[in-house]
Amino acid sequence: MLIQMEGSEAVAEAVALCRPEVVCAYPITPQTHIVEGVGALVKDGRLENCEFINVESEFAALSVAIGASAAGARTYTATASQGLLFMAEAVYNAAGLGLPIVMTIGNRAIGAPINIWNDHSDSMSMRDAGWIQLYAETNQEALDLHIQAFRLAEELSCPVMVCMDGFILTHAYERLDIPSQQDVDAFLPAFEPVQVLDPDDPYSIGAMVGPEAFTEVRYLANDTQLQALKLIPEIGSVFKEVFGRESGGLIHEYMTGNAETIVVALGSVNGTIKEVIDTMREDGAAIGSVSICSFRPFPLDELQDALKDAKRVVVIEKSLAPGLGGVVASNVRMALRGINLPVYTVIAGLGGRTITMTSLQEVFEAAGEDRLPDLQFLDLDHNAVEHEIVRARRTRRSGPIAENILRQKADGRNP
């Protein structure tokens, strides 16, 4: 049934359809509407057998989720930004223990400087925690990925993060197809934990493991991710059979067939990228794109297949590894090991900066002529940064950088 709905509300609906037994709620922008949405469904009586707990922090939210999952409950929570960082220790813990928790990330920048707007710095910081990470391109996909995430998590006994762009998706209203309870029940079997705190079969969870066995446990964590590489497309096909639409999978290709330039990105910006590609194709440019849905596990082979015949790759990414450049681009280069193809990194949309079609088209055109530097910041105010660099060199006590830049922008002149 098609319903006009906010992205967050849609995720709350999807989560409810998956019949979670424990949901931990703690607000942080731009994720708050999701847990509030689940709370509203609890109140409406739509969530039978679900404990909805309002906790005191994200650290508590995931820790409660860890306990609940270990006790055999299908468990869900959501967070963003500072919240994900605050729960970092528990994020690694949940993965290390192999607890199939599903968590939504309403992607938002991390501070300092404080910023509530969208980029991918938060989930990227947790990319190696051992969770599966799926990135939604649209709100329909965000909704669908949650239903797939529970099945994936529980089959592998591995936690899954579903990442969706804060505001751009979480707060956007769209017409969405909300599946029926019957279909979701048919798709998602009841949770059969591989480990559970059961008085009839007592054991403890959280062993101390020394050098004699640590590597083996970690090896198996990697192996779980490799299994996910197979399972994600399989679950995607079953999903299509039941619900009649494509959602999820490892990557989505767009016009890559004869493309000389291929753009790679994660999440909602792929919509804008496709629009630009359509325009450029009309003018005869050989350009296409790949949207990475599964960032962990990282689909090395599938990406290589999709990219290897191109002449160049442009990675548009909403996160920055200071001192290196792009996080996604580094991973893409890994997929292209042994293949001599330039991979350009374009850092875009940090802290919610709008990624415009005009700017993207300029970058893609420059790339087409191999005029791009290895690392570029989309729409960077070069004047502002140059002045700050000079100023900091000149004056030892040059003050807080964020405040200086803001003052420069407000004054419209340089200090």
Partner: protein
């Protein structure tokens, strides 16, 4: 102090503020709080107290966490530090330890303090860090638009408490008294003059001073800690209250239905700096 202070007229107030000299402590940024928010009177109270104590803005740092309350440093012209949600106290401890000459004031909301940041309060109190902690208690998370906080009353309805809040609210005054805070008081944003006096006392005290300010969130709380409800229930501490008696302070702190305003407890003792100086002196021998 009566239950309801005499009405304040804008013109009189403006004249009074201009004459007072504490406008110097106001920054050029106008507060972004909702009209009617209790926090305005806390800015007023703090600037008045700093002015009365002749503490210069450049000898003062206001440290906050995250929340509506924590936007406070932007609206006052002292040094300011807007830190992470729940981390204002340890940041302030660091500032005070590194520069004991600064007057360090910590501000924040009940969520910042008692939910995500709860773990730091006992330690700042027991170490007796010489700072003043002004806690703005509206019993709700304001900045994230109205969710249940650890000081929300039983039965309170928000989006994170389907039907109503079933979790017992914390009693911050009892907590601070048992954590060993050496100065503990309570004020109400609807009684700004009394509050300014309390802030002044808390600032003048050497050691960890904790001022709990009851402050309505007019936008997201229409039923619980409103001006009307608080105005009807607050009362002064009894005249014969003995502020050196922790048990008497606890007895008063238990009376949450009729929150008493004033200084509950005061007991000077060596501060964190005294302990650190002792280590340095003995190490130097």
């Amino acid at each position: 102090m009566s239950n309801i202070e005499k009405p304040v007229y804008l013109e009189e107030k403006l004249e009074e503020i201009q004459a007072s000299g504490h406008l110097e402590y106001r920054s050029k940024s106008l507060p972004t709080w909702c009209p009617g928010c209790g926090y305005f009177s806390i800015v007023e109270g703090l600037t008045a107290a700093l002015n009365n104590l002749s503490i210069d803005p450049d000898e003062t740092v206001v440290v906050s966490g995250i929340g509506c309350a924590s936007r406070f440093p932007f609206f006052i012209d002292t040094y300011g530090f807007h830190s992470l949600h729940g981390r204002a106290l340890p940041v302030a401890t660091g500032i005070k330890v590194a520069n004991d000459d600064l007057s360090v004031i910590v501000v924040g909301g009940d969520g910042d303090a008692f939910a995500i940041g709860g773990a730091h309060i006992p330690h700042a109190a027991r170490r007796n860090v010489d700072i003043t902690y002004i806690l703005f208690d509206n019993g709700i998370y304001g900045l994230t638009k109205g969710q249940t906080s650890p000081t929300s009353v039983l039965g309170f309805q928000t989006t994170t408490s389907p039907f109503e809040n079933h979790d017992m609210p914390l009693n911050p005054l009892m907590m601070l008294l048992s954590y060993g805070a050496s100065w503990v008081g309570q004020a109400y944003a609807g009684h700004p003059h009394h509050m300014a006096g309390m802030i002044e006392e808390a600032l003048a005290f050497k050691g960890f001073s904790y001022l709990h300010v009851l402050s309505p969130c007019v936008t997201f709380d229409k039923t619980s800690k409103t001006y009307q409800n608080l105005g009807m229930s607050v009362r002064p501490l009894p005249d014969d209250h003995d502020r050196s008696d922790v048990m008497a302070a606890m007895a008063q702190a238990q009376k949450t239905d009729a929150p008493a305003l004033g200084c509950y407890f005061e007991q000077p003792r060596p501060t964190l700096a005294d302990g650190l100086n002792d280590i340095a002196a003995r190490a130097a021998k």
